[in-house]
Structures are given as structure tokens and as C-alpha cells.
């Protein structure tokens, strides 16, 4: 039985380009699903630029700067420089201290990337791929960094090439034991997940060892095909980064037999390139496109793959993907411009994950750490741990299948919020608004309420302030009563003109906290309330 049977299904299942009204509501929906927290100004810009231009901007992957050393325990790279190609010290203890410093730098850097995202889908795609190819951190931060960059570089690239590159990436070779998969001891771990989770997906079990799309024998054959890759240079004192090396005498040179699900083809020995041939064979099955498109759909649109979505939406997406030889950008573009994507029934159909929650507060208010490299890094690290405490440590998904919220029926994204996590969410909301902030390194991390209100359409008008805040933070209109309540908090129950006077006084007296503090405090109160409303928990 499906508990959601009673839910109103989308009116439009059409993948044709959306041509309806283009207001703040639609623009904000697009940005909520493709970014972590768009500002009011970004939403207004998207309205004036129109859907096509905005989507085109979103599909640009920007160039980013390197992670920087901020902890002096890194023995081989100075504070303020990057460590991504720095060797490790030979002393084991110093190497570990160096690794610790680098992992902290990396985690802080990833959070900074999310916090400082432009109008781009890049960061959202990176989380998607981290969830899909869920290798966790290696023992060498350079490998972990390289892995992240590999996912980022392919974020909207070619899926087939991405699978090939991931297959022989040092981080993945270590994570799923590819690095110990040899002729003498085939290890099935990667071969299994390659089929089950990364490419074709597992269908219902229809016979002994037969999972509709592949069989156990394909797992065994795949393990043999993939033999021979090792990882060298972990924490090397000479090499600039760990590398995957193909070692021919550890490769199984026999001819491998695939099952009927792959046309019973054989895979002859092809040495270092055999894995690539095998992936080409897997990608001949259109199910690969269907599988990855369902994951994209769940991530960007809705977890509920209704029968109608499976017959009307997913096949069109898969067809687009196959027509473009597994390029990712065209299918994402098609989806983000489709009538279905903008169907009103889908607003708020996803509960924010922890990273969406945190940066939904910080990014949308134009806030973030802004002190110095060390303090900012520690603050970003704090945000990393906060996300982890709510169930989403960016670089370490809980299992090879990724975060359960993206796949576990029937609750899906509801699993992000339970009795423990809801309390943490509300505590954080208070800490970064009405409390002095989260103390880090002698400074406090909190939202910049004044910069936020200054960026709204007409900050001196309390009605517009609340309207803008609703556009930014809620996926759907809230009730008149709820709006009145929020405005009541903003004006402290005074007539609207009192707020106008207060705000104008603050503008007229720059730097005078007598005038700015009351404005700041009222905005913080409203933000605290908004962040503790169920409506804000969804996108």
C-alpha cells in the first residue's frame, strides 16, 4: 500500500518547454532546485532574464580556486598556499598531522564552494554525483580532492566517460577494493556496485542470481575484467598525487563471458583498456539511461516515481540522454525547462537535506564567514560537522548507495528530519539568528541580517519585506494569517509606518547601532521564526 496514494498528482507530465507565466514563483522554484539558497536579487534577476537565459546561466560550471592550507600542521605546504600537489613528510606522525590538516582544509573548502556558489547548478550537481558515486575519503587528501574534482569536471559532461574515469580513479579503487582486485584474488565489490548502483541498476530478482538487468555471473566476470589496477603514491614523499597504475601480470587475461542480459557477449583480454570496453557494453543497454534519469528526476523534481512519471517523463528523459550519447547537460536542460518541472503540484515536494537547510539560510541571506583564512576555515568546518550531525557529511555518504533519503521508499526525503534532526535544525536556526552566533575562534558565525534586509525589494515597507522573505524561503505561498504573524514579529506589533521610520532612520544614520540594532533584531526574530516553520523545511 502506498501511503501517498491520496496525493494530488501533477497536472502536466509534458516535457515540452514551459511557456506559462514567469514570475517570482516559477523563478524561485527553478533556483531552489538548482542552487542551495538564491537571494531575493537572484530571483528578481531570473524573472527579468527569463527562463531560457536563466537556465543557460545555471548550466555553466564555473572555474573555482584551490583549497588552501590554514593549519600549520601541514608539514609541506605553507599556510595560505594550496596543498593539492604537495608531497607528504616521511615521518609517519607528521604525515598523519599533515593529512588531518588537509582533510580539514578540504572539508572547509567544499563548504565554502557551496556557500559562495554563483548562479550555477554546479554545487547541486556535485552533491548529486557525490551521492551517486559515493566513494568516501581516501587516506590521502590529495586523492579525495582529485576525486571531487573529477566529479565536478564531469558534472554536466558525458556520463559514460565519467563512469570510465571513476572506475580507475584512485579514490574509488581504494573505496571498493578495485586496488586489491587481481587475477589471483578477484574482489567483486566494485564490479557489483558498477552494475547495481552506478550504471544499469538492479531490477527485481527474477531467478537465482538474476536481477533482471544483470546476473551474478556478470558480477564475477566484471571483477575479472577490472583486475590489474593498483594505487601508488599514497602519502608519497615524492609523487604530487596518488595514481592508478595498471599492472599487466595481475590482470586476468581470460575471455570473460557475460550473461544473456548483455547479449551473452564475450569480453576478450584487452589489458589496461578492457574496463573501458566493458563499460561500452554496459552502456549499450538503454536501461542505463533510464536508471540515471530516474535518479536525476528524484534529485531535481520529486522522489515519487509515479506510474505516470515512469511512462511519460522518464522515457523522454532517457531518449534525450541516448540521443546525446549519454551527455548529461541536454537532459538536465530539458528537465529544467519542461512544463512538468514547473507544475505547481511539485512545489515543496522535497524536504531539504542538511546542506540545503544550512545554506538555504546562509546563502539566501548573503551570509557566510568573513574574518580571515583560519577563522573562516574553522567556521566552514563547523558547518561541515553541523551538516554531518543532521545526517549529511558531504564527503562520506553513509554507504555506497549514498544517502538513504535519495532512495529509501516510502519516506525518502522525510528521513532527513526525525526527532533528533528537527531539534538540531531548530537549534541552529536560533544560534545563527537571535543568539549571538556559533562561537568559532573567538568570533561568532551568524547571519548578516542587515545586509539581507538591505537587499530586499523595498526594505522600508514591512509588507514587501515579508513578501520577499516568503518568496525566498518558502516553496509555496503561506496563509494570510501566517504572513500577518510574521509581520507582527517584524513590527513588534506596531503599525507598519513605525517600521518604515525605524528602517529609514537606520539608513539615514549609517554606522549608528542605536538605529541599526533594532532593525537587525527584528529581522533576526523573523528569520528565526521562518527557519522553524515546517514550510521552510521543504524546497
Amino acid at each position: 500500500m502506498n501511503p501517498d496514494l491520496s496525493i494530488e498528482e501533477p497536472v502536466s507530465l509534458s516535457m515540452v518547454p514551459y511557456t506559462g507565466a514567469w514570475t517570482k514563483s516559477e523563478a524561485a522554484h527553478l533556483l531552489r532546485r538548482t542552487m542551495f539558497g538564491a537571494t531575493n536579487q537572484q530571483i528578481l534577476d531570473a524573472v527579468s532574464n527569463g527562463m531560457n537565459t536563466t537556465v543557460a546561466s545555471l548550466l555553466q560550471i564555473p572555474v573555482i580556486s584551490d583549497p588552501l592550507t590554514y593549519d600549520s600542521n601541514d608539514a609541506t605546504s605553507a599556510v595560505g598556499t594550496t596543498w593539492i600537489t604537495s608531497v607528504y613528510p616521511s615521518d609517519v606522525t607528521n604525515a598523519q598531522l599533515t593529512e588531518n590538516a588537509r582533510i580539514k582544509s578540504l572539508a572547509a573548502w567544499i563548504m565554502k564552494r557551496v556557500n559562495t556558489e554563483n548562479l550555477s547548478i554546479a554545487e547541486k550537481m556535485c552533491v548529486f554525483w557525490q551521492n551517486h558515486f559515493s566513494a568516501t575519503v581516501a587516506s590521502d587528501a590529495r586523492a579525495t580532492y582529485n576525486y571531487h574534482m573529477l566529479l565536478r569536471s564531469h558534472a554536466l559532461g558525458n556520463f559514460k566517460q565519467m563512469v570510465k574515469d571513476v572506475t580507475i580513479d584512485p579514490c574509488m579503487l581504494l573505496f571498493l577494493n578495485g586496488a586489491t582486485n587481481t587475477l589471483y584474488s578477484p574482489n567483486e565489490n566494485y564490479a557489483r556496485e558498477l552494475l547495481e548502483l552506478f550504471t544499469i541498476g538492479k531490477g527485481p530478482q527474477i531467478g537465482p542470481g538474476d536481477y533482471t538487468n544483470y546476473k551474478e555471473e556478470d558480477v564475477a566476470a566484471g571483477a575479472k575484467i577490472l583486475t590489474g589496477y593498483l594505487v601508488d603514491g599514497l602519502r608519497s614523499t615524492t609523487l604530487p598525487s596518488p595514481v592508478a597504475t595498471y599492472t599487466s601480470f595481475l590482470h586476468d587475461t581470460s575471455t570473460k563471458q557475460l550473461s544473456t542480459h548483455f547479449g551473452s557477449v564475450t569480453v576478450p583480454n584487452a589489458g589496461a583498456n578492457e574496463y573501458s570496453n566493458y563499460i561500452d557494453i554496459i552502456f549499450q543497454q538503454p536501461q542505463v539511461a533510464t536508471y540515471i534519469c530516474t535518479k536525476l528526476y528524484r534529485y531535481f523534481v520529486n522522489y515519487d516515481l509515479t506510474p505516470a512519471v515512469m511512462t511519460d517523463v522518464i522515457p523522454e528523459m532517457a531518449a534525450t540522454m541516448i540521443a546525446n550519447n549519454y551527455d548529461i547537460l541536454p537532459v538536465v536542460e530539458q528537465l529544467l525547462k519542461s512544463e512538468h518541472f514547473y507544475d505547481v503540484s511539485l512545489r515543496g515536494s522535497i524536504i531539504r537535506g542538511p546542506i540545503e537547510l544550512l545554506f538555504g539560510m546562509f546563502n539566501a541571506t548573503n551570509s557566510g564567514p568573513n574574518f580571515n583564512l583560519a577563522i573562516d576555515s574553522e567556521m566552514y568546518l563547523t558547518l561541515y560537522w553541523l551538516a554531518e550531525s543532521m545526517g549529511q557529511a558531504y564527503a562520506t555518504p553513509p554507504s555506497v548507495a549514498g544517502w538513504i533519503e535519495y532512495y529509501q521508499a516510502p519516506a525518502f526525503s522525510k528521513l532527513w528530519v526525525n526527532s533528533t534532526h528537527i531539534k538540531t535544525r531548530f537549534d541552529i536556526a536560533n544560534y545563527i539568528t537571535v543568539y549571538p552566533g556559533i562561537p568559532v575562534g573567538g568570533q561568532n558565525l551568524k547571519l548578516n541580517a542587515l545586509a539581507f534586509v538591505d537587499g530586499l525589494s523595498l526594505p522600508s515597507d514591512p509588507v514587501i519585506v515579508i513578501d520577499d522573505m516568503c518568496d525566498v524561503f518558502f516553496p509555496k505561498a503561506i496563509s494570510t494569517l501566517q504572513k500577518t504573524t510574521l509581520k507582527f514579529i517584524l513590527t513588534n506589533g506596531q503599525p507598519d509606518f513605525e517600521w518604515t521610520i525605524q528602517y529609514n532612520d537606520y539608513i539615514a544614520n549609517p554606522g549608528n547601532t542605536t538605529f541599526s540594532n533594532p532593525v537587525k533584531q527584528r529581522i533576526e526574530f523573523v528569520l528565526a521564526r521562518i527557519f522553524q516553520m515546517p514550510e521552510f523545511q521543504t524546497i
Partner: protein
């Protein structure tokens, strides 16, 4: 029908259906009968998930297969002399000294070769199967969730309430448990620290019938429940106690089990606690390359064994042993042959542990048979279906009527005797000694008296300590045999009473303690 079974059925029978004991119509008895076993109501079940696929063959080691284990997994098997002996043919991993002594004290049970037909070797699918207790891919509810749905059909609507103020299940840590997924909501509360205060801002929302609306309803209910349940958990944790000195503060499972003991002793009525240990997916470096008794897997088993041992010790000291039982499970065992990475790959069946003072037997099921030649990808064949173990737990521990258990499962259920020892056995022994028994005793709202009779007149009364008769349980002729007559205690004050059985063949009496 055996007596024990018969007595058990009596205690489970519905009050609505008049039933007859040896030609006596119980509805004729003056005091109204009670209808349901009360013993299961305050029972607690603890589930420890070994996430990743535990290597059963290096956990519970079949000593009679050791030579072939050496052939199949020479780089992983622990030295024969290091194995902790349980029986002449079965032993434990050398790190599990605590669980060995639990076994020796009759508090640890091993169920061998547990799995299901046509093993699925995907972690995720297999964990789904174990969580739902169904092979059907369309099943989304957990095995406990289905039972909870039967008992509390509208959950979470109108819960908590005055009758059920406490969470039905608690999942220690950050995540709720899929085993407790019900139709509309998950019955488990995720809980990190029972001492943390909870006071969340609640909201009034309207479900407008969309996905958004369903989320609004879910979240506002969650917030209200978290506040209510949080207060209950808090109160119980503060009222409770733990007494064992064996808990290791560096063992995360020990810390969590200590919280569980604290909450149980503080009076929380939660029925199920779920814990999780990650890391059992030991493809690689399962054992140290220089010492197969050490390494990742040994560390995990130590975490488990030490924590459960401390918990059991605590329950004993707290006097809660007969109210708490537990089990471990993992989504599959691992292949018989090891790989060259000093690890093992995904396999099939594996043993699971049951623990508590109410276990029925030390070992259920025969040792697996290990061949002398390596068969590619071979796992341990399944002999006992885990779904039958679940069903047996519901029957033995929660005393769910058998007729209600079968519909929860897709297979024809086979019941094993797993956790029934406290149901009647202790009382049976006492009865064998004295030929009269009042059970449960102490009792809260109802109890039963069991006695022998000839074909004769019998009168049973309850007296208080001043010698005043406070209840007439039975008065009439009765045929030869052993009889069990339930009676109610609702009207009695807490305190000590005498149950007096007058018979032509000789009278007997025994003490009864009524508690609130």
C-alpha cells in the same frame, strides 16, 4: 494437547469467546476472567544491526569444520587453539569473551545458518528484506511496523496520548529504523541523548493534498511528537538508573545500551530499541595480516560482545533481566572462501544472536557444512528462515497470538522456541515443587492460580493478611487434573495476600503480592 500449551492458550484467549476448561464454563465463575497475557506488555526488545554483512564463520566458528575452514580461508580463520569453546563442536571468536560467559550462563543463544531463499547479495536490497521481513520488493513497511500498525492503527494521528505516552520504539542515533516503518509513519523515534531537553516551536499547518501538504502534516506531527516523547524520555532518563561497572565509555554501543538501561529502569514503556554498528563489510583487511585474531572484524566483535555483556550485567543488577531480550542481525554472511585482501566478500546465511535470561536454548540449528574444495562465490546455505525467527520472537516475547502472526508474513510460518523461557517455565518448575502456583506474582491487575485436584469440590479465595476474604475466585466441583484459573485483582489494594485453595483432598495456600 500438552499442558503448557494449553495453559498458554488460556492466557491468550479472547474474553469475548466463552471457553471451557475441563467442562467448566468459565463465564459461570463469579469473578470475571481476564483476557490477555499481561506479561508481554512491559517487555522490551533490543535489536542490534550489524551493518555491512557480518562474517558469521569467523564469529561463531564450527569447530568440526575447522580443517576445511583452513583450506577455504587460511588467511582469515583464527587459530584453532584461540577459539572460545561453547560446545564441543562450536566456538566463538577469541575476542568475544563476554558473550562466551553469557552463553555459559544461559543468556546467549545462537541461531545457525539464518537467511532466506535465493539470497540477494546487494547490501541494500538484502537490508530491505531483513528490515521488512518480506522478500516482496513492493513491501515498504518494516516487520515491526506491520505489527505496530495492527496494534495502533491510526498512528501517528492522536499519538502520543494518555494511554500511550511513550514512543513505541527508539532508534539510538540519528536515524529512524526501517524495521519500524509503518503505513503512515515510522514508529521509531531517533534518539541521541535521552538527557537532552526538547522544546520545539510547534506550528499549525494545513495539508492541502499535495506533496507539500503531506510534508507539512508530517513535520508538524513530528514536532509535536518530538516535544511529547522528548519530555517522557527525559523524565525516564532522569528517574532511571544503571548499575553495571562494565560499560566502556569508549564503546559507542555500550554507551547507547547504557542509555537504554537507564530509560527502561526509569519506567519508559518503549517496547523496542534499535542500535546499529557499521563496518561489517570487510572485503579488505578484515583481519590483521600478522594476527588473524586482530583487525577490523575483531574490533567490531569486541564492540558488540563487550557492550551486550555490560548491558546484560546491568539488567541483572537492576532486576530487569526477565523483561528485556535482544537479537543481532546482519543483511548477509560472507563467502566461505576468503579473498587475497585478507577479507571476505558478500555471502549468504549467517548465525544470529539472541540474548537475555529468557532464551530457550543455547544453539538452534546444526553447524554449517564446509566443503574441502573452494567453490567460487559459495556462501553458507540458508537453513533457518529469518522471517520465522521474527515470527517466533513475536510469539514468544510479545505473546502475539499465532493467528495474528501468520498474516504479517508471506511464508508459511514455522515457529521456533526462541525466547519463551520466561513465559511459563520458571513457574512450571515452582509448580512441580509445590503443586500450587500463582502467576504472575507479583501481579498488577490479574493473576492465575494453578493447582491439582481430584474429582472433587474446590473453593478458592483470596485473603488479606488480617484473614479477611477479599475475593472469591471459584467455588464448585471440578474434575481430576491440573487446572489454571485466572482472576482479577483490580479491586485490591497493593500489598500481600494469601491465595487459599480448599479441597476435599487437602488444602493449599500460597502468597500473592499485588503491585501497582
Amino acid at each position: 494437547m500438552k499442558r503448557r500449551n494449553f495453559v498458554k492458550n488460556v492466557s491468550l484467549a479472547s474474553v469475548a469467546a466463552p471457553f471451557v476448561l475441563k467442562d467448566i464454563n468459565f463465564q459461570a465463575i463469579e469473578k470475571k476472567l481476564f483476557n490477555y497475557s499481561k506479561s508481554a506488555e512491559d517487555r522490551v526488545f533490543v535489536i542490534i544491526r550489524l551493518n555491512g554483512g557480518n562474517d558469521g564463520l569467523n564469529t561463531v566458528i564450527p569447530l568440526d569444520q575447522y580443517d576445511n575452514l583452513m583450506i577455504q580461508r587460511p588467511n582469515v580463520v583464527v587459530p584453532e587453539t584461540s577459539i572460545l569453546s561453547l560446545t564441543p563442536t562450536l566456538g566463538l571468536h577469541p575476542i568475544m569473551t563476554g558473550m562466551q560467559s553469557m552463553f555459559n550462563n544461559g543468556k546467549l543463544s545462537i541461531v545457525q545458518n539464518v537467511g532466506y531463499p535465493e539470497q540477494n547479495r546487494s547490501h541494500f536490497r538484502s537490508m530491505d528484506i531483513w528490515s521488512t521481513g518480506m522478500l516482496d520488493i513492493n513491501e515498504t513497511r518494516g516487520w515491526l511496523g506491520r505489527q505496530f500498525d495492527n496494534d495502533y492503527p491510526n498512528y501517528p494521528e492522536d499519538y502520543p496520548n494518555a494511554t500511550y505516552p511513550d514512543p513505541f520504539a527508539i532508534s539510538m542515533g540519528y536515524e529512524v529504523s526501517a524495521t519500524c516503518q509503518g503505513l503512515m509513519a515510522n514508529f521509531s523515534q531517533a534518539l541521541e541523548d535521552p538527557f537532552a531537553a526538547v522544546n520545539l516551536l510547534s506550528s499549525t499547518v494545513v495539508n492541502d493534498g499535495t506533496y507539500f501538504g503531506s510534508h507539512m502534516e508530517y513535520l508538524s506531527t513530528l514536532i509535536d511528537q518530538t516535544n511529547s516523547y522528548g519530555a517522557q524520555i527525559n523524565a525516564a532518563a532522569n528517574a532511571g538508573n544503571t548499575l553495571s561497572t562494565l560499560y566502556d565509555a569508549n564503546n559507542p554501543i555500550a554507551v547507547q545500551l547504557r542509555y537504554v538501561a537507564q530509560m527502561i529502569s526509569g519506567g519508559l514503556k518503549t517496547k523496542v530499541y534499535i542500535l546499529n554498528i557499521n563496518g561489517f563489510d570487510t572485503h579488505n583487511a578484515q583481519v590483521s595480516s600478522t594476527d588473524t585474531t586482530a583487525g577490523e572484524h575483531a574490533n567490531l566483535l569486541k564492540t558488540l560482545s563487550d557492550a551486550v555483556t555490560a548491558f546484560q550485567n546491568d539488567l541483572q543488577l537492576l532486576g530487569l533481566e526477565n523483561r528485556v531480550a535482544g537479537m543481532t542481525f546482519s543483511e548477509f554472511g560472507r563467502q566461505i572462501a576468503s579473498n587475497a585482501s585478507d577479507g571476505t566478500d558478500h555471502g549468504d546465511a549467517a548465525p544470529l544472536f539472541l540474548f537475555g535470561s529468557c532464551i530457550n536454548s543455547g544453539v538452534i540449528g546444526p553447524n554449517p557444512t564446509i566443503g574441502s574444495t573452494v567453490v567460487d562465490q559459495a556462501g553458507v546455505p540458508m537453513q533457518i528462515d529469518f522471517r520465522d525467527i521474527y515470527a517466533s520472537i513475536l510469539k514468544d516475547w510479545f505473546e502475539v497470538p499465532m493467528a495474528d502472526i501468520q498474516p504479517l508474513f508471506e511464508q508459511t510460518v514455522t515457529f521456533y522456541q526462541v525466547l519463551g523461557a520466561c513465559n511459563l517455565r520458571v513457574e512450571d518448575e515452582e509448580f512441580e515443587r509445590n503443586r500450587i502456583l500463582v502467576f504472575p506474582n507479583p501481579a498488577t491487575s490479574a493473576s492465575s492460580v494453578r493447582f491439582d485436584a481430584q474429582n472433587e469440590w474446590v473453593k478458592i479465595e483470596v485473603y488479606d493478611l488480617t484473614g479477611r476474604s477479599v475475593a472469591l475466585v471459584f467455588d464448585g466441583n471440578i474434575e481430576q487434573g491440573t487446572h489454571t484459573i485466572p482472576f482479577e485483582l483490580h479491586d485490591l489494594q497493593a500489598g500481600e495476600y494469601i491465595v487459599f485453595v480448599q479441597k476435599e483432598s487437602g488444602s493449599q495456600q500460597t502468597k500473592l503480592v499485588k503491585v501497582k
